[in-house]
């Protein structure tokens, strides 16, 4: 599902869809993101309300076991849940609740959704954040090196292997890693984020334990992300190698390291950062799968539980939170992008 990335990055790099920049820098971008967030939040509100049936259907249906005969009693229940109010005022109170951080009440866990989200989000952020960081570091340096040694056996082998790897879904990758490194060769733990009932002697032990449990999920998520960015970096760097400024820099007698990272590597940064922005969404999506495989206590297992129990308030809360995370990450990348590219800044 990540093959879009490269194409996207390529398209963005070529700039054939350049939107007209507004005078006020960033305002347009921020506006687009705010609009998207509003559209998603509104969708979450209206979607269940346009589905057939409503929460009090059973109380009003004479054939149902939960039928309440007394009309006054029924009205009282509807008023208690605010379901007797017009849609617009329901929408308004939904928005004001969201602003206060009130995501409603989880049906299956009988806990406020916000409490559950607060407990789970840090683990997902740890997993996705470190996966993005690790995959970026690896793909950037390996990509530049592969471009520098293009056509060699190692370069060609990497391309073939990684082109196939990036098509493999995260849950398949996670299952394979789990089977290999936790079952067949039990080096790493099979599940969880910490040793159960552990008491740590020092904070260092705690960090070590968390990292030990993080290793496999992180690897499962990183491989796909790194493969994509590797191909982007490699191809961009190759396209810079024939440029005049490279020839000049070489003629000046600059060191190989300067040539590699300062002159060609920096030019690979732009498509790379574009890819990073698109990948933020993929990483969050992928972490849902990886967490479910490794029973990692993040959003993924929470979403899975919400789906299994058809716990809609919890699912909606998860969705809104994940959407906010992805949108913020994307926005941050786009603003960085403007900083990185003097041409975008100037316009």
């Amino acid at each position: 599902m990540t093959d879009v990335l490269q194409r996207e990055a390529r398209a963005a790099a070529r700039g054939h869809d350049a939107p007209p920049r507004s005078r006020v820098p960033y305002l347009r971008t921020i506006g687009l993101y705010a609009l998207t967030l509003w559209a998603l939040v509104t969708l979450v509100f209206f979607l269940p309300r346009f589905m057939p049936g409503d929460p009090l259907r059973a109380l009003q249906d004479a054939d149902s076991g939960q039928f309440i005969y007394d009309a006054q009693e029924r009205d009282k229940i509807a008023a208690y849940y605010g379901l007797d109010k017009p849609l617009v005022s329901q929408y308004r109170s939904y928005l004001s609740d969201l602003r206060k951080g009130d995501f409603g009440w989880s049906i299956s866990q009988n806990t406020p959704v916000a409490t559950l989200l607060k407990k789970r989000l840090p683990w997902t952020l740890l997993l996705t954040g470190s996966a993005l960081l690790l995959s970026s570091t690896i793909s950037y340096f390996v990509g530049i090196t592969a471009a520098w040694h293009r056509g060699r056996f190692a370069d060609r082998a990497l391309i073939v292997v990684l082109s196939a790897t990036r098509a493999i879904p995260e849950y398949a990758m996670a299952s394979a890693l789990l089977i290999t490194f936790a079952v067949t060769y039990p080096i790493f733990p099979q599940a969880g984020a910490q040793q159960a009932f552990a008491t740590y002697g020092s904070p260092l032990d705690a960090i070590g334990d968390v990292l030990f449990h993080l290793a496999l999920p992180l690897a499962a998520l990183t491989v796909g992300l790194a493969a994509n960015k590797f191909l982007i970096v490699r191809n961009t760097v190759i396209s810079t190698l024939g440029e005049d400024y490279m020839v000049l820099a070489r003629a000046k007698g600059l060191s190989r390291r300067l040539l590699k990272y300062r002159h060609s590597g920096r030019n690979a940064l732009l498509p790379f950062v574009t890819a990073l922005g698109i990948q933020a969404g993929f990483a969050v999506g992928g972490s849902l799968f990886v967490e479910s495989i490794f029973n990692y206590p993040g959003m993924g297992t929470l979403v899975e539980r919400a789906v299994t129990a058809r716990d809609y308030p919890l699912l909606q809360g998860c969705f809104i939170l994940l959407a906010v995370v992805v949108l913020i990450a994307n926005l941050a990348v786009e603003l960085t992008y403007a900083k990185l590219d003097p041409r975008v800044r100037r316009r």
């Binding site: 390529r10 347009r28 993101y33």
Partner: protein, 292 residues
């Protein structure tokens, strides 16, 4: 993404063209194999997907050639019958994505000005929507039938195809034969039908294949997380059942319960990817232009 720049495009094709085509042929063979499974699945499968075929967690061998799951259902039969869900979603969601993207791309490309501007802003908006969480939510609310999922996938993933097809329409508009036809007084409909759409077909096919591959991964992933038609055998649901069994890795049942659906799924997705790479190389004008 709205961030743009004008840096040189990365060199497109990787590996030799010949290698790409050989890989594409292999991909085509893999897909053909799955198509046979779908067409003759009910004859090929020794059992029905939910039928009690043997003892619980029987290892491979005997009547149940790939063993059974916790409920004693035949893995091989589930594997064969699960191909249908994957290929259906590949076909429907792939086609839906390209058709939606095509409509938006052609309209935006052919009518510049406010129409193009509005459509491209909508495209930007849909591009940044977090897709998997939204798919999960909508899928859980609507029940997640294969056709419903295909529709939602199409509604979320059309922007890529729209952008690529739009830029192709923009380039076609300026070709001499199209301008000549305009000079002879050809109407919009005639132009689109005779001059634009035929030239877009190959590009649309090149867009269809990766969209189909993505849809396969998404459908299985959603089924794995619990969004899907529970009556329909699917590889994602098999993986879900296997992983949900807590003692999976204490016994060696994962060898015949978890591994086969994962392998089947990865093989199909890799097959589609290989075919897609070959098709893109052959069909996409962008790459033909850049090919060295």
């Amino acid at each position: 993404m709205t961030a743009t720049t004008v840096t040189r495009a990365p060199a497109p094709g990787q590996g030799s063209p010949r290698g790409t085509y050989v890989a594409g042929a292999i991909g085509g063979l893999i897909i053909a194999f799955y198509v046979v499974l779908v067409l003759f699945g009910s004859q090929l499968a020794p059992f029905r997907a939910t039928e009690l075929a043997g003892p619980s967690l029987a290892p491979p061998g005997g009547a149940t050639r790939l063993g059974t799951n916790l409920l004693g259902q035949d893995i091989l039969s589930q594997l064969i019958l699960g191909a249908r869900a994957s290929l259906t979603v590949a076909l429907c969601a792939g086609a839906g994505t390209v058709v939606l993207g095509g409509i938006v791309g052609v309209v935006a490309g052919w009518f510049p000005g406010w129409c193009d501007a509005v459509l491209m802003r909508v495209t930007d908006l849909v591009l940044i929507v977090p897709k998997l969480p939204l798919l999960l939510l909508v899928g859980a609310l609507t029940g997640g039938s294969v056709l419903g999922l295909s529709l939602v996938i199409s509604l979320l993933f059309w922007p890529n195809a729209a952008r690529i097809l739009r830029s192709q329409v923009l380039s076609l508009r300026t070709r001499t034969h199209v301008r000549a036809a305009t000079g002879f007084g050809a109407g919009t409909w005639h132009q689109l039908r005779r001059h634009i759409l035929p030239d877009l077909t190959l590009l649309a096919i090149a867009e269809f294949i990766p969209a189909a591959g993505r849809a396969v991964g998404l459908q299985a992933g959603l089924a794995f997380l619990g969004v899907g038609d529970p009556t329909l055998p699917s590889w994602g649901a098999m993986i879900r059942d296997a992983v949900a069994f807590r003692a999976l890795f204490i016994t060696s049942a994962w060898k015949w319960w978890l591994a086969p659906p994962v392998i089947a799924l990865v093989a199909l997705i890799v097959g589609i990817t290989l075919l897609g790479a070959a098709a893109e190389r052959r069909l996409s004008p962008r790459l033909v232009r850049h090919a060295r």
